[in-house]
């Protein structure tokens, strides 16, 4: 506690520290919210300038950007179906339908509050037990366990966003298939590339997500404009009430735990956290058919988890020097620029720096709540802009966001192709969330599956070796049986 207070004092008694904190908070929020300007863009742009800052301020700046940027991406996901980054994609599954249902204020309210709760819980846990938790997570969760978690997650995806089990499964399998295009993760063998240099690098998440969500949405709404049936989203600033939040307490707690543990795993972090948490919200819900159509619990699950992952990601970074994702990898660059080595000794050698970072992450999570409440009242008014004006802007922003990724025009073509496929799939009741989850979880899944099979000596029974993997795989199999049984019963009734 005294360390935390000391970190807070160090943070807020220095005018430059306050300026860096506020700048990081606002910058992360803005860059996270605008497609094409991800928090990674901001982190990369700022990297050379951190030389001029003290190590404490430089590292703290990146911690704050991480926290506020992850939340910022939820705003455009909710208002315009454009996730600011991959980890905000599940937020759009229910956030955007809520906006279409005239509940934009509530959706943003849930996102703000749950981001703050997720981030704060994560920060507290991070301060309490960095080293022992890092040890536990890294010794318990190897490739077999991560694959089991992903398998468990995938088994429920098929039921999201469509009423047809077959179409849900086909959507998921199509997504998994798209994830296999490019080189295989073990031997770099090109698959389904047809000799194309572009395809051999694999299809990137970003063009697919922007295509399936943003471009498809413009086409769907544009088609309604053409047929004279378009209705604008209602502008509603009503914030969720305390009782509405209280009703979702279990979902918040579950998502915070999922987000926290996912954040600890190097290489997966907030993205896996948001997707798995969303899947679990569907699995635990008494009304899973409401997900994908504007269910607040979907927003709560995704936003709590992806923010809970931010603090957790600092643990392997600081304790073991393992980055959980791109931003934490950039943070290693900041440490290097200041000639500091991260690892177990950093808690002793750079005690002040670590506690300033912890305090900054904690206060940034709380600041999101205040900033978000103020912002919600204003930002939903963006919906007042008529769709014919906002539509080309969405396409341009999506194009910039996609092109900026690796300066490839083919990515932009892929985005528009995904938009057209997404449009057709939506019109024929296939599930876009299932496709997107298939691509993302499939790419991570194949990588850990190949490692897991080698570790299990190519024996499927080996996947049940530890209690964690056994429980998740059994749970996944039971989940499939349960889904099929439910549909058979429904079929018999009708």
């Amino acid at each position: 506690m005294s360390d935390f207070l000391a970190g807070t004092v160090l943070l807020f008694t220095d005018p430059l520290g306050i300026a860096v904190f506020v700048g990081g908070l606002v910058g992360g929020l803005l860059f996270g919210a605008i497609p094409g300007l991800s928090l990674l863009t901001l982190a990369a742009v700022l990297l050379p300038f951190t030389v001029w800052l003290s190590p404490e301020h430089a590292i703290m700046l990146y911690g704050v950007i991480y926290v506020s940027g992850v939340y910022g991406g939820a705003i455009t996901a909710i208002l315009f179906n454009i996730p600011g980054s991959v980890e905000n994609a599940p937020t759009a599954f229910d956030g955007y339908p809520m906006t279409r249902n005239g509940q934009a204020g509530k959706a943003i309210g849930y996102a703000v509050t749950c981001s703050a709760i997720g981030g704060t819980i994560s920060a507290i846990l991070m301060m309490m037990a960095t080293a022992p938790i890092a040890d536990f997570a890294l010794s318990t969760f190897g490739p077999i366990e991560v694959f089991a978690v992903i398998f468990f997650g995938l088994t429920v995806v098929a039921g999201v966003g469509t009423g047809s089990l077959a179409k849900g499964w086909l959507s998921l399998l199509f997504g998994l298939f798209l994830g296999t295009v490019g080189q295989d993760p073990v031997g770099a063998t090109p698959r389904f590339t047809f000799g194309s240099l572009y395809l051999s690098g694999g299809i990137s998440f970003v063009p697919l997500i922007l295509g399936f969500f943003a471009v498809a949405e413009v086409f769907v709404q544009g088609q309604r404009v053409a047929s004279g049936t378009h209705t604008a989203s209602k502008v509603a600033v009503a914030y969720p009430t305390l009782s509405e939040f209280w009703a979702l307490k279990i979902a918040v707690a579950r998502s915070a735990i999922i987000g926290w543990f996912s954040g600890l795993l190097p290489g997966v972090g907030a993205t896996l956290a948001a997707f798995i948490s969303y899947n679990e919200a569907v699995r635990w819900s008494k009304t899973p058919e409401k997900f994908g159509k504007g269910e607040p619990e979907g927003v709560v699950a995704a936003e709590t988890a992806n923010n809970a992952a931010t603090g957790a990601a600092m643990i392997p970074l600081l304790a073991l020097g393992l980055p959980g994702g791109a931003l934490t990898a950039i943070m290693i660059g900041v440490f290097n620029m200041h000639e500091m080595e991260i690892g177990p000794l950093i808690m002793i050698e750079a005690h002040d720096l670590v506690w300033v970072l912890f305090a900054a992450i904690f206060w940034a999570s709380l600041a999101i709540l205040i900033l978000g409440v103020v912002e919600t009242k204003g930002i939903v008014h963006l919906l007042r802009i008529p769709f014919p004006i906002i539509a080309p802007c969405i396409l341009i922003f999506a194009t910039i966001g996609t092109y900026a990724l690796r300066a490839s025009i083919v990515d932009v073509y892929v985005m528009f192709a995904a938009g057209i496929i997404g449009f057709v799939m939506r019109k024929t009741d296939y599930s876009i969330p299932a496709v997107v989850m298939g691509v993302i979880l499939g790419q991570i899944g194949e990588n850990v599956f190949s490692q897991a099979m080698v570790m299990a000596d190519y024996n499927v029974i080996g996947l049940f070796d530890t209690w964690v993997s056994g429980a998740f795989i059994t749970g996944g199999l039971l989940s499939i049986v349960f889904l099929v049984r439910r549909r058979v019963l429904e079929f018999r009734r009708t």
């Binding site: 179409k167 073509y413 079929f491």
Partner: protein
């Protein structure tokens, strides 16, 4: 009746074909890898077999039980929207059909134009044109929004964030490059 039957069977036959074609293609890289016995084709083949299995079961159900694949919960948002905006309806006028087509085609022309002519030349043309197709008729509004958005894009992406943007080919590449240098 027959058309309806074909309509319900066709997508799943399509999926099956997709699965089979994928399996055939994946044969090219079958065989174990030095560090992974199952080989590069294993994972995609499991997925493609899954596609064949699911579409096969669905075709079986359609044939023997007349199971409706498109059953979903009544009253959902998608339901209401799908019912209300069937733009392929025969009553849709040619004008509306043209407008709907333009909404799809213009963005594709925009990307192609961006590829060949460059972002800085195509975007100020695309922006008002797409708004016009969408139904904005006020000239003042078209100009105001186009200029405002382009200025914002330049400030955010070129001046502030140094974001790479397509510069076109040939003469246009250097033209866009000069324009870019002006702002950076």
């Amino acid at each position: 009746m027959k058309i309806n039957k074909i309509k319900s069977y066709a997508p799943f036959i399509g999926w099956m074909l997709f699965g089979f074609i994928g399996l055939v293609i994946s044969h090219d890289y079958m065989g174990p890898l030095p560090t992974f016995k199952l080989g590069a084709a294993f994972w995609p083949q499991v997925i493609l077999l899954g596609i064949i299995l699911v579409s096969g079961i669905q075709l079986f159900l359609l044939s023997f039980f007349q199971y409706r694949s498109d059953r979903h919960d009544v009253g959902s948002v998608e339901d209401v929207e799908t019912q209300s905006d069937d733009f392929l309806d025969k009553t849709v006028s040619i004008r509306r059909y043209t407008k709907a087509s333009a909404i799809f085609i213009l963005p594709l022309v925009y990307v192609y134009g961006m590829h060949k002519i460059g972002f800085f030349i195509v975007t100020p043309i695309f922006l008002p044109l797409y708004m016009f197709v969408m139904g904005v008729r006020s000239i003042r509004r078209l100009i105001f929004v186009a200029v405002g958005v382009c200025a914002l894009l330049l400030f955010l992406f070129v001046y502030l964030a140094f974001t790479p943007l397509p510069q076109g080919a040939g003469y246009f590449h250097s033209l866009n490059g000069e324009f870019l240098a002006l702002f950076q």
